[in-house]
Amino acid sequence: MLRDRSFQCVLFVIPLALLAYALRPETARRDDPDGIFWNKVSSPAVHDVVVAGDSRTLQGVSPQAMIQAGAGQKILNFGFNAACLNRRYLTAAAEKLDTGKKRCVLVIALTPLGLSRHSEAASNFNWYAKASGPELVFRKILTPIEHFVEPYQFREELKKVSVSHAQRFPDGWLASYVNEENSTLMHGMYRNILSKSPVAPELVADLARCIKEFSARGIRVAVFRMPSHWEHQQLEDEVSQWNEAEMKEKMVSAGAAWLQFDSRKYKYYDGVHMQASSASQFSADLAVQLQAAFK
């Protein structure tokens, strides 16, 4: 068999492929964050903390940093782009918790956009949630293979990517490293969407009902408004009909713990999404607050 050149070829391919994989810099990988989401939807119910929210959560919460700050042993960032905090999504998030454990916590990061009718239609989660069981198993097998064989990035954009790039983590965090910050970058888009599609009272009411149901099943729920740049927060307050005091009251009366953060502590590259360093800091702060809330 060793004289067979096709077999010899396979023997050469293995070390060469491992070498190519080892030498491939993170920044030279194509930005294809699809696998991270397949990982989330196919993740088993083994977590003691699951953090649900939209792209701000996806980029703003590092489970690893939370574990280091003592918030739990197994934490999942269940954030999806444009996720709507509706029953379907929250139920899927809660299903990732190991409810056999006494101290499992569902953390819900609220945003006005996540409670709007717009995100109900645009939620990226909808697309992944449609996948069938066999497809998820197939994806589960495929994702590590895809990760291994991701090609080197040669395009001209590499120059930009090397200073502004995203890094995916298996725990669901998408870390963003962006060179230039612009706190008003998203103003136009948010004003446009939220003025047409403000916070939907029905979604808020259903969120409160979900919290009650989760609490009845022994799941502890923590809720907070995801921090953003103060200018952006001001814009959201103006156009989205967000009433923080009222929201807090509804969530607390449903059985959730309300957490409060100082948004000025963190850096946002576009006014809403956190830089990776701030996400680590915020995650540590979140862990501390969770421990304080559920002593």
Binding site: R3, D4, R5, S6, Q8, C9, V10, L11, F12, V13, L16, A17, A20, Y21, R24, V149, P151, Y152, F154, R155, E156
Partner: protein
């Protein structure tokens, strides 16, 4: 289904897994080829599969009857050709014909409705292959098969189904008849090497050149960039993109055929090392150029008639060859340009004169390349206005700032280096190097095809 897709890897694994068992039985073997080729084709669009069966069915019946009823052979041949060309014309050329007819009818204030049908993938390939079978039977160069599974297994054999090489029934049908000999070590490795070279050419060179070429031609609404160097570089990139794309496909097809126990003829033989345009056409898309030679050029008299008639035959053949590629005046001009080049060669005999000079071969290759690149402009341009604009800039020798051509330039150099290496040192490439170098080289190509692949693009020739 594309060779450069995950689905194809699964498909090929399944095909060869079952192939080991079904190949012993003739009918099972042919049925398995038909079934899997239908899946391969239908993956793109199931609804056009019937066309393949209709086109092939017409030729199967026509060829059979040509042998059975010799008195009606001419009528049957006419029926077969009219049906095949009718189907091809309907799907590929009807909109183009209507557009041009409307221009002619404009003074009479008449209009023919223009209907654009989706072009069934690979229609030009399988129609020509199917037609050549009937013509060969008519000429007595091939025996008509009486087994419809045998015929369709040859026509549909998936490696060549959608982008060739255009197989002749007289070559493939006899191969399909006996149980294929299991490929020995040499054949297995040759197959693997062909597949590795094919993937390397397609996904590393062609796919990494494609974005720059597409961007250059896609910006036509913004006007043509006024830089000669830029357009010469872009055309060189396109020349290598289309060559590596198409020859990569046929290498993969030939490699897969070898693994099945069959042999497909060479379709590309280093065309950019040609020292004359006639030489170029004996190296580029050989299965198509020989098809036109055998079924169009030679029947018209070829070069065994008067010099003027030879030129006319040549022009008709080349223009039809251009039209085969697509329904557009750009393809017609591309064919006509090549006809003009060959006519000029016949009149002046410039290649022989240049080859007698010191370094003559290199000069001749350069002259051929310039001609080929100019013709490629018409083949690739989005419109006639863009093509003429690019030609003007290419020969104005002006310089203007333009976008960086990196990293495509690096892949162009890689393509030139690879092709030079293959052309000069390794002919045929498997036979020269010995020992562990061969499998190591093939392994490098396979790893490069995985880690240095460009964004997955469809094969260019699928559209024909």
């Amino acid at each position: 289904m594309r060779f450069n897709s995950l689905e194809f890897l699964v498909f090929a694994a399944l095909f060869f897994l079952i192939w080991r068992y079904v190949k012993r039985n003739q009918s099972a073997r042919w049925l398995w080829i038909m079934l899997m080729s239908s899946v391969f084709y239908g993956w793109w669009e199931w609804s056009y599969l019937w066309l393949l069966f209709v086109s092939g069915g017409i030729d199967f019946v026509s060829a059979w009857w040509i042998e059975s009823f010799p008195r009606h052979r001419k009528k049957l041949l006419f029926f077969s050709m009219a049906s095949n060309l009718g189907i091809l014309g309907f799907y590929k050329y009807s909109a183009f014909a209507a557009e041009n007819l409307n221009v002619l009818l404009q003074p009479l204030s008449l209009q023919v409705p223009i209907v654009n049908y989706a072009l069934p993938i690979g229609i030009s390939f399988y129609t020509f292959q199917s037609m050549s079978y009937t013509i060969d039977v008519y000429r007595g160069e091939c025996k008509a098969t009486r087994n419809i599974l045998h015929f369709f297994a040859g026509l549909m054999l998936f490696p060549q189904l959608v982008a060739g090489p255009i197989l002749r029934a007289r070559d493939i049908l006899p191969q399909l008849e006996p149980e294929p000999v299991p490929p020995d070590e040499q054949k297995r490795f040759e197959g693997l090497a062909l597949i590795a070279h094919g993937y390397f050419k397609k996904v590393v060179i062609a796919d990494n050149l494609a974005p720059t070429v597409t961007a250059a031609f896609g910006a036509h609404g913004l006007g043509v960039i006024e830089s000669s160097a830029y357009w010469w570089a872009i055309m060189a990139m396109f020349a290598f993109q289309i060559y590596c794309d198409f020859s990569g496909y046929t290498d993969i097809a030939r490699g897969l055929a070898k693994w099945m126990g069959y042999d497909f003829a060479l379709n590309f033989n280093h065309p950019y090392s040609a020292a004359s345009i006639r030489d170029f056409w004996s190296r580029w898309h050989i299965s198509l150029s020989t098809w036109f030679r055998d079924y169009v050029y030679v029947p018209m008299g070829g070069s065994r008639t008067s010099p003027l008639r030879t030129h006319v035959n040549l022009w008709i053949t080349m223009i039809l060859s251009g039209l085969w590629h697509g329904a557009s005046w750009r393809f017609i001009i591309w064919g006509a340009l090549h006809a003009a080049y060959v006519s000029l060669e016949r009149v002046t005999d410039w290649p022989r004169r240049i080859l007698s000079l010191p370094l003559g071969r290199f000069i001749a290759i350069a002259v051929v390349l310039v001609q080929v690149l100019v013709a490629w402009v018409f083949f690739r341009a989005e419109s006639m206005a863009q093509a003429t604009g690019i030609i003007r800039v290419m020969f104005s020798f002006v310089s203007a700032p333009h976008d960086s051509l990196q990293p495509a330039l690096a892949f162009l150099l890689l393509g030139i280096g690879y092709e030079t290496w293959m052309c000069v040192r390794v002919q045929p490439f498997m036979l020269r190097t010995k020992g562990w170098m061969e499998p190591a080289g093939v392994a490098c190509l396979l790893v490069a095809a995985v880690f240095f692949r460009g964004h997955g693009q469809n094969f260019i020739y699928f559209q024909f």
